[in-house]
Symmetry: D2
Subunit: 199 residues, 4 copies
């Protein structure tokens, strides 16, 4: 799948990243695709067995990291610490959150981007543009109210190029998705459909 993403990114010129588990970071990075960690911990070098050091994932080839993904919600103080750790290691950051209020909150912590993930749309087939377009426009507005330089991604309700197009119309600068590609019979075809509106 990482190779397919690398190829689709090359062919289309569209920015495509892959976020595997830590143990697969190096193998994914070797395909040349933009590589993202799924999480880093708010720690520095030291006694942190069982935790993820930002520098370690950067050395394994990660270009950036997700933080506070809906499947791994963190304490506010740890989101702040993880953003700082990622910046220290030269990793780009996308911090996820559930709703516009929380999007405003994480924007205040100074990440590169934030991603709004309406809980009811995660992992499903329902398009965000149909089900809950206001959550994207409200998230864009909430982020802009705090810091206009932070991009807003749509982190759920995306499974096709039409959804990507709709998310862009609602103000999103990009999208996050998982099951729509990961469970596809032909991931390359799905990826080609997803980037099509951006070519």
């Amino acid at each position: 799948m990482a190779q397919a993403a690398a190829d689709v990114a090359d062919d289309s010129g569209v920015r495509v990243g892959v976020a595997p588990q830590d143990a697969d970071l190096e193998a994914v990075a070797e395909t040349g695709v933009e590589t993202w960690a799924q999480h880093v911990d708010p720690i520095d070098y030291g006694s942190n067995t069982g935790h993820t050091l930002a520098e370690t994932v950067a050395e394994a080839g990660a270009d950036g990291t997700l933080i506070n993904h809906s499947e791994n919600r963190l304490k506010l103080a740890d989101i702040d610490g993880s953003v700082q750790a990622a910046e220290r290691a030269g990793l780009e950051t996308i911090v996820c959150a559930n709703n516009p209020e929380q999007i405003g909150a994480v924007t205040a912590l100074g990440p590169d981007a934030v991603a709004v993930e309406p809980p009811e749309l995660i992992g499903g087939d329902v398009s965000v543009a149909t089900a809950d377009p206001d959550i994207v426009t409200d998230a864009v507005e909430a982020a802009a109210n705090v810091d206009e330089d932070v991009d807003v991604f749509c982190g759920a309700g995306i499974s096709s190029g039409d959804d990507v197009d709709a998310a862009g119309d609602l103000g999103a600068s990009g999208v996050l998705l998982a099951s729509g590609v990961a469970k596809a019979d032909d991931p390359r075809a799905v990826l080609e459909d997803l980037v099509d509106p951006l070519v």
Copy 2:
């Protein structure tokens, strides 16, 4: 101590609240002092054994609740849920946070007030005005950038009336303190000193 706080509030006209453990809420509320819970959980009526329902502490006499105190840091999504639960139960809210960035973040969740608690000053004798005045002014600015209607409290580095005065000069609308009163030989005298600049 609750009775002393009730008396000092009555005599001075200054707003004084006490935040006991849940099991002591009713007894504290009976003194007539403004009574605050230390925490409420992001839950509604239902199967939540071992958690604190906002309605239960409100019925026991709480007027408000602290959320995300430095000794009880919460997930961002749970701070959001706890603020909503408190509002549903008619409780006023003060959300605590470590630094100006996090103060900006919690302000975006719409509480009545926020309190900045520089970790290095908690539980000590060092005055915030001496040790780290910028953290208060920066927190006031970070909150105002997000929502001008949210008050900012100073949650550490306060042990005397002079500290209260200094915190006010730095832009704080109030203060939180614990050990300075709780460990005092004469809590009433300490409380009288604390409210003196506000009379």
Copy 3:
């Protein structure tokens, strides 16, 4: 409901306890019924805002405390610390767990009793004796293998006197239940039915 439990205990001679939220402990204890906290934290006197001190709930009238209830799962080290804190404060302890292996584990921490709560039976109407009798007999055996002096309670799948009877036949020394009484139109009648086999 606490008054009903107090009356049923008095009339039947059966041991009945009620485990309310902390803010209601004092009011429940005043009915004379045996009173249990839902949780205590692994802490001593000190800086623990938002946490529950065992001594505080004991002073409010609690005779014992649940620990690690299925709705409030704890770290192993914290279960250990909470059992010790409860003993320090003179509270009896019942530690809950999901399955026979975990029942063996918590028995090793030296509580007064343990309660097995099959996750699929919690909050439902299905009788443990019908759905999963082996989990109770296996839990009784797992506990006895570690420490024969620790009682085993059945913590789910109980809603009638017949269920209490069946749990006893499977080796349980008592039962925990919530929704069966809490949501009943006539809690006193349900309680009378529950204790009937033990009179």
Copy 4:
């Protein structure tokens, strides 16, 4: 360091394992040294962004995994789930715990081995044999009381071959250490000293 450990294991015939962060598992495994993950999550394939799947670390070359390390304490139910996930993926398991009571507890969950880590000895230079020999013998006894087939390791207070020797005399089947090797100027020399009593 992994290469030094591989060489020392080959030369001495002593079993030596290395437990890196996930992103380094593959590189460590390529040295041929026995490779251990620091943690696996209690999850199966599915929506678990930011968590560690046992199968993923096994495919990256891990032979086993630590669980509940002192720097990453878990909920009891999650220790149970992580042991099961590791076994499903064919990983050997060592579950860590603070004291003899908790060692008895984790032994009941059926891991391959347990490791006792007296908190006051972690990361320091003090030998367990000098500081707290009873904690090792008590842990060995607590584990044997629950399941005689589970090995007990000494997880702190080890920095030399003499400490390894002493731990063996106290009943430990092996040792865990970190800073003693990781911070050494000459890790290979430290490793050679550590295995010397076992050659």
